[in-house]
C-alpha cells in the first residue's frame, strides 16, 4: 500500500469523488473522540449532514481559518487527533498556514482538502486550482512531506487509516464534484462553541 501512496501526486490522477460520501467515510472511522473542524459553507454543511458529533466545530465565517483553529486544538490536546476540513477557495486564502503546520509539526493534526476547482457556493466561479495550482505540490513545498492526492475512495480510506495510526502532520487532498449539500448548519455560534468545548472536556 505504501507503494501505491507514493505514486504520482498530480491532481489530474485523482478521481472526482463526493464530499458528503468522503466525510461519511471519515467519520465512520472516528472512534476515539477525534476533533473535526469544518470549514465554512459546504464543508461544514456536509459535516453537519453526516451526524452532529459533539466533537465537531462548525466555523461560520473567518474564511481560511479552519487549519489554524485545528492547529490550536491539536496543540492544546496532543493526545487527541484533530482533522481540519477545508475547501479550495478557503485554502487559497491562507496558504501560509501550511508552512505554520509544517513548522509546528504536530503529530496529531490532519488536513483534508475538498477541491472542486470552484467557489461553489457563490455561483461556481473557477478557483485557481481549476487552472494552475496543485495543493499537494504547494503542501510539499511548504514542508508537509506526508501530502497526497486521494486517488479514489479506497485510497482515501487508506490515507485516513494512516492519519489515525501514524504520526502527522498529514495532508490529504481530494477532488470532488459540485453536488450541493442537502442541509445547512444551525448558525448559533455560542451553542456550537460550548458544545465543542464540553465534548473536549473543557469547562470554564
Amino acid at each position: 500500500m505504501t507503494n501505491l501512496t507514493n505514486l504520482s501526486s498530480a491532481r489530474e490522477n485523482a478521481q472526482i469523488m463526493n464530499r458528503f460520501e468522503l466525510i461519511k467515510r471519515l467519520t465512520s472511522k472516528l472512534h476515539a473522540n477525534e476533533a473535526v473542524i469544518g470549514g465554512i459553507g459546504n464543508n461544514n454543511f456536509d459535516l453537519w449532514a453526516n451526524g452532529q458529533r459533539p466533537e465537531n466545530f462548525y466555523m461560520l465565517g473567518s474564511m481560511g481559518l479552519t487549519i489554524p483553529i485545528a492547529l490550536g486544538v491539536a496543540l492544546a490536546q496532543p493526545q487527541r487527533r484533530v482533522f481540519a476540513l477545508e475547501g479550495d477557495g478557503s485554502l487559497l486564502m491562507q496558504l501560509g498556514a501550511l508552512g505554520t503546520v509544517a513548522k509546528t509539526a504536530l503529530k496529531n493534526l490532519t488536513i483534508i482538502i475538498f477541491d472542486n476547482g470552484m467557489y461553489q457556493i457563490t455561483g461556481k466561479q473557477p478557483t485557481l486550482t481549476d487552472s494552475c495550482v496543485d495543493f499537494v505540490n504547494v503542501a510539499q513545498g511548504s514542508g508537509l512531506t506526508q501530502s497526497y492526492w486521494a486517488r479514489d475512495n479506497t485510497h482515501f480510506e487508506q490515507l485516513i487509516d494512516d492519519a489515525l495510526t501514524k504520526d502527522g502532520p498529514h495532508f490529504i487532498a481530494t477532488r470532488i464534484d459540485d453536488k450541493t449539500p442537502t442541509v445547512s448548519t444551525d448558525r448559533d455560534p455560542v451553542k456550537i462553541r460550548l458544545g465543542f468545548m464540553q465534548a473536549l472536556s473543557i469547562h470554564r
Binding site: 461560520l60 489554524p68 490550536g72 486544538v73 492544546a76 490536546q77 465543542f196 472536556s201 470554564r204
Partner: protein, 176 residues
C-alpha cells in the same frame, strides 16, 4: 532587603512585566507577527520555556490558533502591530465576537507620535474605530506604572466575560 526589592521592581521593563503577568494568568501560548517595538518582548518569550511561541505568516492565522487552543483548554495571546491589526476586521467580526472567544491581542501602536511612514499613520487611525465598532474592550498603556494593572485586569476580564481584549502599547510607553 525590602528596599533592594522595591528598587528591582521599579527597574523592571514593560516587557518583563508583561511576561510575568502572562504567566500569573496561565497564558502560555504566544502567536505573533513581529514588530520592532515588540522585539524585546518576543525575545524574552522565546527564551522562556514556559511559553509555546508560534510565528505564523499572518495575524489572521495567529488569531485562529489561539481561538482553537482556547476551546481546547490552552490560553493564548496574539502580538502584532497596528497595520497587522488592520487585517483582522473580518476574523474578529465573524469568529472572535460571535463565538464569544476571549481573544487577547497586544498591539504595538505605530503611526503616531513621530511616525515617518504615511501609510502607517493612516492605518493607525482605523484601529480604534474598528475596535469600538465591534465593541471590543481596548486600552492604551502609556506609563510603566500602569502596565501590570491594565494587562492583568484586561486578561482577567476577557476570560471572565468571554470577550476579546486589545491591549495597545502606546509610544508613550515604548518609545521614551
Amino acid at each position: 532587603m525590602t528596599t533592594e526589592k522595591s528598587i528591582n521592581t521599579q527597574q523592571e521593563t514593560w516587557y518583563e512585566i508583561v511576561l510575568r503577568v502572562l504567566k500569573s494568568n496561565d497564558v502560555s501560548l504566544i502567536t505573533y507577527v513581529p514588530d520592532k517595538v515588540l522585539a524585546p518582548l518576543i525575545k524574552v518569550l522565546h527564551a522562556d520555556p514556559y511559553f509555546t511561541v508560534i510565528a505564523p505568516a499572518r495575524e489572521e492565522e495567529a488569531i485562529g490558533i489561539i481561538t482553537g487552543s482556547y476551546m481546547a483548554g490552552l490560553k493564548g495571546i496574539t502580538l502584532m502591530q497596528t497595520s497587522g491589526f488592520a487585517t483582522l476586521a473580518n476574523v474578529l467580526a465573524s469568529l472572535a465576537v460571535p463565538f464569544q472567544i476571549p481573544v487577547l491581542m497586544m498591539i504595538s501602536e505605530r503611526g503616531t507620535l513621530g511616525e515617518f511612514q504615511v501609510g502607517q499613520a493612516i492605518v493607525c487611525k482605523t484601529m480604534r474605530p474598528v475596535l469600538n465598532t465591534l465593541g471590543i474592550e481596548n486600552y492604551a498603556i502609556e506609563r510603566i506604572n500602569d502596565v501590570e494593572f491594565i494587562v492583568d485586569n484586561m486578561i482577567k476580564q476577557a476570560f471572565a466575560t468571554q470577550t476579546p481584549a486589545a491591549m495597545i502599547l502606546s509610544p508613550l510607553l515604548t518609545k521614551r
